[in-house]
């Protein structure tokens, strides 16, 4: 907001954008590829990469002292606000290496006494060592990621490229299923899985992903496939390639950014998922990280926050790593599709 007036004096080198903006289409990617592939009312996803690149720096003109002070104040405010936002997280990290008693007395970030025993105690506090629960979570995450990648890309190809009977209706059903709350179907699912004797196995958490029930990712990939030039597959068709070949040889390799986005979001959502894991996994041997943590908090009460924090930190590390290395895809995935 404060930049607006300054911006007027500095023309932006961004002519490509203006064509599509007035449609007021929701947040689209900024690249030329995106603008070129955009259909009316739908969200263009560029074929090459999601790209919400930073715009070129605006203020090339001479800064006055006043504007410099303003900018400094603004940065100070933003940094301060960011610090307040992250303070609870940092404090949890620092508390995890404090002696237990200090957690309730010391709001500062720097531990005055170091105590790493929280990690060893927490690791072994439950029936199994914590690595057991980490492994369980990883198995489910891996199965879910692979399942979503395969099943959703297959379905997306059909919706994006094949003309088949009733496509608009099926497409609408797919879109609506994105918004269906899991709570509405969980009871019959539970009954079905318990009759299959799948309760306390990982199957209820993985098999649905193999069946493309995370329709959101179908949609994400449909958008992406639509951005891939049709000439490519038409040329392949003329050369005699079938749909399977076009899908595996042309579409999938080009869709790597969409596949990466799918993998990353599936990872995070599955890792954080509590509701369905709580319901389908009641045997402590099968507990995943969230369910184990929850048992931990219920069993320890106020007595061992240190080790509880330590294991909470451990449980957040995989997400944090995915965040660090997958940030590009996360930010662009959200910007293009608008889902947390």
């Amino acid at each position: 907001m404060t930049e607006r007036q300054d911006a007027v004096s500095t023309p932006r080198e961004n002519p490509a954008r203006d064509a599509s903006v007035t449609e007021a289409v929701p947040p689209g990617p900024q690249s030329q590829a995106g603008a070129a592939s955009g259909g009316a009312g739908t969200l263009p996803v560029p074929a090459v990469a999601f790209s919400t690149d930073e715009r070129p720096p605006l203020r090339k003109h001479r800064r006055t002292a006043g504007s410099r002070v303003r900018s400094l104040l603004k940065h100070a405010g933003l940094i301060g606000f960011g610090f307040v936002m992250l303070y609870p997280l940092l404090w949890m990290l620092s508390s995890s290496i404090k002696p237990n008693a200090l957690i309730f007395r010391d709001p500062s970030l720097l531990p005055t006494e170091l105590d790493l025993s929280n990690y060893t105690v927490g690791w072994n506090a439950l029936l199994h060592p914590f690595s057991h629960y980490l492994l369980n979570s990883f198995i489910i995450v891996l199965g879910s990621v692979l399942g979503n990648l395969m099943s959703c890309s297959l379905a997306a190809y059909a919706f994006a490229r094949l003309k088949f009977k009733g496509r608009p209706i099926w497409f609408a059903i797919m879109l609506m299923s994105i918004m269906l709350p899991i709570h509405v179907v969980i009871v019959p699912q539970y009954i079905l899985f318990s009759q299959l004797e799948w309760i306390n196995t990982f199957l209820p958490l993985i098999v649905p992903k193999l069946l493309a029930t995370d329709a959101f990712f179908i949609f994400l990939m449909v958008q992406f496939f639509r951005g891939i030039p049709k000439e490519l597959d038409e040329a392949a068709r003329i050369d005699g390639a079938g749909h399977a070949r076009i899908f595996f040889r042309i579409m999938l390799p080009l869709a790597t950014p969409a596949l990466a986005t799918t993998a990353i979001f599936t990872f995070i959502w599955t890792w954080n998922d509590f509701f369905s894991q709580l319901i389908f996994l009641t045997n402590p041997d099968m507990y995943t990280v969230p369910v184990a943590l929850r048992t931990f908090v219920d069993s320890t009460g106020e007595s061992s926050w240190g080790s509880l924090f330590a294991m909470s930190i451990v449980s957040l590390i995989p997400i944090f790593l995915v965040f660090l290395f997958g940030q590009k895809y996360l930010v662009k995935g959200i910007a293009t599709t608008g889902i947390k």
Partner: protein, 313 residues
Amino acid sequence: MSALGELAALRKTKGAKDTLSPSERGDNKAAIFFLAPWFIGLGLITAGPLLASLYLSFTDYSLLEAPSWIGIENYVRMLDDPRLHNSLVVTFTYVFVSVPLQLAAALGLAMVLDRGLRGLAIYRSVYYLPSLLGGSVAIAILWRQIFGTNGLVNQVLGIFGIQGQGWVSHPDYALGTLMILNVWTFGAPMIIFLAGLRQIPEMYYEASSIDGAGRVRKFVSITLPLLTPIIFFNLVLQVIGAFQAFTQAFVVSGGGGGPADSTLFYTLYLYQNGFRSFDMGYASAMAWLLLVIIAALTAANFFFSKYWVFYND
């Protein structure tokens, strides 16, 4: 606008039929192959259970014996179930207070971060991180401590000589702590707003500057109207999401929705009925009420969007 926009677009073109050329008829077979997993999933995991839960909502079923048909008894029971009414009040309060606050924070920060700010990528990441972690059990545990009697908040208040209370254990404040948690995750809608702000052509601002418009005027007359589709999109998404909040309340309250049912979210009560009491029939009826409520809220959002969402086409 993704799914919502597509649905709206589909509705507009409803009349147009897909006519298949002979060469395209072969696609039917291929489509069955490509869609096979999805069709099976739709039948067994999504649509089938959806219909099954409708049936179960008219039965009494505890998993042990076959469901017995009791007509609309579950729905009648909902009419005078005080805990259910309370859970609706709790959930609606949570949604209608925390979602607007969250979106206001998201929009405010997006406005500040827009326009070639140095270090934008870093700020964006820092503000976004809580969105990724906010739904986890670990953060819920952290919240339980922070807002506990001797938690971080009261320690900080203590520095200023204020004697705080156990926020999560007080019926008047427990829900508030969960709202703060939801507002804390404003990063995801903020990123959507940021992308939306970039779609606004600079020339609008330039033109209005020539006409002598100030910042406030530009915000009210240009930014806000052009951003309404995105505000709407965020609103629909966040309302649907907030209605399904579960983990935070479950962990912070130890599964009970306390103190005094003050954090008994609708989903939590549904879970208690279905998977603690194994009252599957009643839980199914609750599930359908949830579906109706979310559908109605979404429909209302769409209906009222006519009056405030500005589509410039």
